[in-house]
Amino acid sequence: MIKFNINEASPVPLYQQVKQAILLDIVSEKLNEGDQLPSIRALAKILKLNPNTVAKVYYTLEEEGFIEGKRGSGYRVKVLKSRIDKLKISIIEAELKDFLEKASCLGLKKKDINELIGRLLNDK
């Protein structure tokens, strides 16, 4: 079962939160090729979401090629290796941008950041 962390108090629109939760599970391979997604009605009831919102998430994911809908049998995960690798990079890139912004706010220089990342990588 996908872990949904839907937060009403967040300014991020609900459909984006739901979409991201599903994408994250696909990227981290908790959801694999052919896995069945819950039906629109079931997911709407669990999350107390408007079924139209859930439908919109599924349609966009289908358009982007991450899932596939078949009449009568619901939606299944479709994994495209190259897309997923790209997605992994873009998720981390967004996080890194945040991190770099904070670092520059704190007055860290390029050299400091390089050192810091190097040290953390070595520790691992």
Binding site: I6, E8, A9, S10, P11, V12, P13, L14, Y15, Q16, I40, R41, A44, K45, L47, K48, L49, N50, P51, N52, T53
Partner: protein
């Protein structure tokens, strides 16, 4: 009327003595839309809903329903609405089924609450009553459902049943739902379109997913430029909060402020706060 429209309201006016309750209001709603109407007390929300439901007759204006919407397919739920109080639940169901031509009554909600069918309607609690009333209306398979300030007054368990029933309705019948509520955190995930009412008009009509692009917040300790449209300002000894509406993308490059995204709760609070502030001036 455009095909997808289920209700079209044109130049609606309602006065109570000299008080203007609805002020030349025009708006339309589409099939399958879920709408939340909010606003401060006395802004005209309930009056508007009553008008849509045919409970109140307007002084002037037009309310037009989509061509296939019969009166039997419009449901209205309100805590103030009287049911046939001395009837038992069973008698009420029989009566309602006959009037509205219901062949197959949907007992699932009543059974989930374990309500006894021989109880009289007047002995039900507010929440039980809401569920009973909803059962009557769900069985009609309504095209349009109007809900007046019910959801915030029922307990958490019954509310969940109530919301799940609404989700089923949207899914199965594509019912248009228009609800009036003060606290929307409980209804928060269902409405797709948000309307805020003030003095008998709508001061905000926006798709929920677009709201965070249209309204932003600045926190600062100085005054801000006059050409930034301020909806509401909140001042304390340590900071000033400015709620900006309508926000434009170009503000980001024009001004140096950190325009923050805010939640729906805060958006509605700032609109209503803005109404009170205007009155004080």
């Amino acid at each position: 009327m455009i095909n997808n429209e289920i209700i079209k309201v044109k130049n609606l006016n309602i006065n109570f003595n000299k008080h203007i309750a609805i002020d030349n209001l025009s708006i339309s709603f589409n099939k399958g839309e879920t709408v939340l109407i909010t606003g401060r007390n006395g802004s005209g929300k309930t009056t508007f809903l009553k008008c849509l439901g045919g409970v109140l007759f307007p002084d002037s204006g037009l309310i037009q329903f989509g061509n296939k919407v019969s009166k039997k397919k419009i449901g209205i739920i309100s805590d103030k609405m009287s049911l046939l109080e001395d009837y038992t639940l069973e008698q009420g169901i029989a009566f309602h089924s006959e009037i509205f031509g219901i062949n197959k009554f949907n007992f699932s909600l009543i059974n989930q609450l374990n309500l006894k069918y021989e109880r009289k309607i007047k002995t039900l609690s507010a929440g039980e009553r809401a569920i009973y009333h909803l059962s009557l209306i769900i069985s009609q398979k309504p095209e349009l459902l109007l809900i007046d300030e019910i959801i915030h007054m029922i307990d958490a368990y019954i509310r969940e049943l109530f919301l799940e029933a609404l989700i089923e309705l949207i899914n199965d019948v594509n019912t248009t739902i228009i609800m009036v509520n003060h606290t929307f955190s409980e209804t928060g995930r269902i409405p797709e379109r948000i309307l805020i009412m003030e003095q008998g008009r709508f001061i905000l009509d926006e798709k929920r997913e677009n709201l965070n692009k249209k309204i932003k917040k600045i926190i600062t300790n100085k005054e801000i430029e006059e050409d930034i449209p301020v909806l509401f300002k909140k001042e304390s000894s340590i900071q000033k909060e400015f709620y900006i509406y309508p926000f434009k993308e170009e503000f980001n490059s024009k001004y140096k402020y950190d325009f923050q995204d805010i939640s729906l709760t805060e958006i509605i609070k700032s609109f209503i706060g803005g109404c009170y502030a205007k009155e004080r001036v």
